[in-house]
Amino acid sequence: MDFGGINPVILLASLMVASTPILLAALGEMVTEKSGVLNLGVEGMMIFGAVCGFIAAVETGSPTLGFVAAALGGMALSMLFAVLTQIFLTTQVPAGLALTLMGLGLASLLGQNYVGIKPPSLPDLHVPLLQDIPILGPILFQHDAVVYLSLLSVVAIWAFLKFTRAGLVLRAVGENHAAAHALGYKVKLVRFAAIGFGGAMAGLGGAYISLVRVPQWTDGITAGIGWIALAIVVFASWRAGRVLIGAYLFGGITVLQLNLQAAGAKVPVELLSMSPFLATILVLVVISARRHGASNAPAMLGRIFHSS
């Protein structure tokens, strides 16, 4: 069952683990952007979530509480951004960048006493029956709860935006906040909620790195993954399904190229190293180009709403 010295089952299983943080953060950011808000603070919220989750998990011994704390931490930080941009009408780009810097600094401060501690591990949630399916079982159904949660969120967010009234309102706010306001929708409230959701998802993604993927706390642990998540939202032209493709492509090829190197494949390492970026951009650009990709951006993205 080997393929060039690589066992595809193990590879695909670790691909899902590697992609989950990006997927969670990108989904959250997509919802935020759909409401017309550009929050560049994903990296900051992720690392803040990572440290909050790590501390909570270590102190309580429960990884579940860790993830809850991570979501709350990410949300708390995003609320700062919400207050700045929605109430004080600050420009969103610098506010988001400031959020990243602040998140990195705060996380480094909070995490100082937690370097070198091993967090409680999150048990794998083996789906009964399904996990016994040959090949598919070990790939799909022997992961931890957060992986399933991230996949469920893809469907839930897609359905929410497409089929529910609340989703329609959120999109309306993102497309034309003046009209939505005129119709009596609470533009700021909707945006507060969307920003908070984005923060919570980014926090979860961060905690997945510090609690599962790496399991440890180190300064700067997210190492720029938040920026990748931001880029994936754009390349996925604000569609949940494509965010999934983008995140899995990026995470998957990252893992694949390391495996290819370890297996001694005769491919230049430089090419392998840039392959995650190349492939992700290429694939998402191609699928977006076919149907009005970039024009799919929420019309009010990054604009300040002033209800006069």
Partner: protein, 361 residues
Amino acid sequence: MKRRTLLTAAAAASALTLGLAAPSFAQDKTKVGFIYVGPVGDGGWTYEHNQGRLAVEEHFGDAVETIYQENVPEGADAERAITQMALSGADLIFTTSFGYMDPTINVAAKFPDVKFEHATGYKTADNVGVYSARFYEGRAVQGTIAGMMTKSNKVGYIGSFPIPEVIRGINSAYLHAKKVNPDVEFSVVWAYTWFDPAKEADAAQALIDQGADVILQHTDSTAPQAAAQKAGNVITFGQASDMGEYAPLPRVSSIIDNWAPYYIARVQAVMDGTWESDNTWDGIGAGMVGIGEITDAVPEDVKAAAVEVMNSIADGSYEPFTGPINKQDGSVWLAEGETADDGTLAGMNFYVEGLTGEIPQ
């Protein structure tokens, strides 16, 4: 990091105003700057440089002021960071990563009165000295342990960038593993980063999936240690720092960089006005490279062999690169009994015979 930049910028501004008001005031303290490639909490490379900085502060007390900037990317942005530090009135600046080599040389040309010390590079100038540690001596000890302890005969090696320092480490570890275990094989994964915990963990995981039961790393975070611990039955070595929190397993020993004595000596030289451009390259013997405790997870005979290698290197009776050694293509590098000269070592860009794969160019 921008936050730090702001602080340095602010410091630069205030130094300027102070300088105008009282020209002699700023001269009282010797200002020493450090440029770091990762965060000081990485638990590895940057952590140890920062320990050196703290030792300087402790040794000189009020006579020095140290400043530092974390997470400075290698390349063009480094030039900006170093320039800013020089502008802020630093008398001596340590740039602590290989990729700062050209930026350091460029900035140094613009600030002839500021002294620069670049770690692990090879370009010097009148006001630029270089220093490094002979990590490959420590790799010889690790290779010995790795070769004797591997059961799968597969050793995984996480490389950062294909630069001489890293290649030396791979060659040294391989030669000494091969010496005690002729069947040993090395797989090298290039991570193309010094610090990215998630990627380092993935790289370690990929090597473990490929059957490696020993992981050597030349990246800065403790993430590979955590990955090995999760996998079980895999041993690792602390890199740059002791990483003792992962002892006794998976971390069975470590290479510890000890920069403090060198930093203190160089700061003293600047204070005395005796500083000159130098090229310092010390190893186990001089104490710049330390070997962390070999844990009880290592069998006695392996430990004895490792300690013997370590001691013979320390007292100078043994050189890790002693012939006969062939290059990867089979050509002779060192004849029987010949030892490598520092010039070849400093620019090493080839694998020794037996290693598979190519070095990315």
